[in-house]
């Protein structure tokens, strides 16, 4: 059975935003560090490294998850999506991103990537998510600037636009 020793770097292969990537890292490197410092996707932010703040939330196999709680060695074969993949093309925002802009759903922007990844996964899985469900999902992401209300409004607006077939 494969045993990856503690002191060496090992190859780990996974998909990020649709592209297969292979990195050579120690087992212990956190996925948040792999994404940011090995691959250069710095849109995923690190806020606590103990799974509470949600700033590093990415999507793993379609579900929102904390990148700081995934070890590089676990990432083998994962399908990962980060904030950099939300906009379909450069210079154009997704419906969700645009809603955040329209509703002042961000200030410093540090928690925003994680919040977008939570909501993007939620609205994909539950297009008719109620406000209660949206708030429950958002409770896993801390924001210190906005007081949350503008975020909830942005999420509701994005849901309504997407339901009407916007993209």
């Amino acid at each position: 059975m494969p045993v990856l020793n503690a002191t060496s770097r090992h190859e780990v292969t996974f998909r990020v935003n649709g592209t297969e990537r292979t990195v050579r890292v120690e087992n212990r490197m956190l996925l948040s560090d792999v994404l940011r410092h090995e691959i250069g996707l710095t849109g995923t932010h690190v806020g606590c490294e103990h799974g509470v703040c949600g700033a590093c939330t990415v999507q793993i196999d379609g579900a929102p998850a904390r990148a700081c709680l995934v070890l590089a060695a676990q990432a083998e074969g994962m399908n990962i999506r980060t904030v950099e993949a939300l906009a379909a093309e450069t210079g154009r925002l997704s419906v969700l991103q645009q809603a955040f802009r329209d509703h002042h759903g961000l200030q410093c922007g540090f928690c925003t990537s994680g919040i977008l990844m939570t909501l993007d996964a939620l609205l994909a899985a539950e297009p008719d998510a109620s406000e209660g469900v949206i708030r429950d999902a958002l409770s896993g992401n801390l924001c210190r600037c906005t007081g949350y209300e503008p975020i909830v409004r942005a999420a509701l607006a994005a849901r309504d636009t997407l339901r009407k077939g916007g993209n």
Binding site: P2, T57, I60, L69
Partner: protein, 279 residues
């Protein structure tokens, strides 16, 4: 805040997990979802020499319904159980308790058996296992054994799992007809560790109350089928029998008082539900 070094084993079968556990014993930690273990690694509270990945095998990621039990394999994510069709009728207590576990982002990765293995006194899944008198299925390379939940949890983060044993599954009994269930939890914030969590199970035979977050393990009390007039006394005895702790989130007295109040609340709820089922 980065983990210390560890070797990482990626077993290809259950047998390989067991082999690795035999080889590394107490030097190893099994990692499944990692939602509790990785914070400990990051803070270097835990420094296992070896991690054995138990979450990669589809065989172990099954929920099987058999003989009045939901048997949940060690790679089953909490979200997978949460989304099990008809969970609310198969086992209402689980359906009501799972939303209190962390947040959607942690339930997506965290496993059911991982929570059982970790034995946090405030955790919902061990509480439900004790409340429902479920079982823990342990296996080594040589033998398998099944332990009753109440015998499995020994203390704060301490269980009867031997170092070479894998929790290969846990079994939660499904709801028997005519049984009522209720769950309540008080935390500081939504998604926080429970200050007090209570579960009541009521049937024609009587009612039980299980209290988590107060003592070092969740504890179950059989209250029989007695009438309600002795309930306050019984709850007071229960509250005092628990070794309640003071911590920065709540006083011991608060934990006892909430045990009395929420205990009464869930017992009435469960009894009412049982009565509705029977009528």
């Amino acid at each position: 805040m980065k983990p210390a070094r560890f070797s990482f084993v990626r077993p290809q079968s259950r047998q390989e997990i067991l082999d690795a556990l035999t080889e590394h014993g107490s030097d190893a930690s099994v990692i499944a979802g990692g939602q509790t273990l990785v914070p400990m690694l990051n803070m270097r509270l835990a420094r296992p020499k070896v991690l054995i990945d138990a979450a990669r095998l589809p065989d172990l990621a099954r929920i099987e319904e058999e003989k009045g039990e939901l048997r949940i394999g060690c790679a089953v994510r909490q979200a997978q159980l949460e989304q099990l069709p008809n969970l609310v009728s198969k086992q209402p207590l689980l359906a009501r308790a799972i939303p209190f576990i962390g947040h959607v982002q942690t339930r997506a990765r965290g496993t059911v058996c991982g929570s059982i293995a970790h034995a946090d006194p405030s955790a919902e899944l061990p509480l439900c296992l004790i409340a429902l008198q479920g079982k823990v299925h342990l296996r080594t390379r040589r033998k398998a054994r099944t332990v009753r939940a109440e015998d499995f949890f020994l203390g704060m983060m301490s269980t009867g799992r031997e170092p070479d044993e894998l929790i290969e599954a846990v079994s939660y009994p499904t709801a028997a007809p005519g049984t009522g269930f209720a769950f309540q939890e008080i935390g500081r914030r939504h998604g926080d560790f429970a200050i007090v969590a209570v579960a009541a199970v009521a049937s024609g035979d009587g009612v039980s109350l299980t209290v988590g977050g107060v003592d070092d393990v969740a504890r179950r009390f059989d209250l029989g089928a007695g009438r309600d007039d002795g309930l306050d006394d019984a709850l007071n005895d229960i509250a005092w029998s628990l070794n309640a702790r003071d911590d920065l989130h709540a006083s011991a007295a608060y934990r006892r008082e909430i045990t009395r109040r929420l205990g009464s609340h869930v017992i009435h709820q469960a009894k009412a539900e049982a009565a509705r089922c029977q009528s």
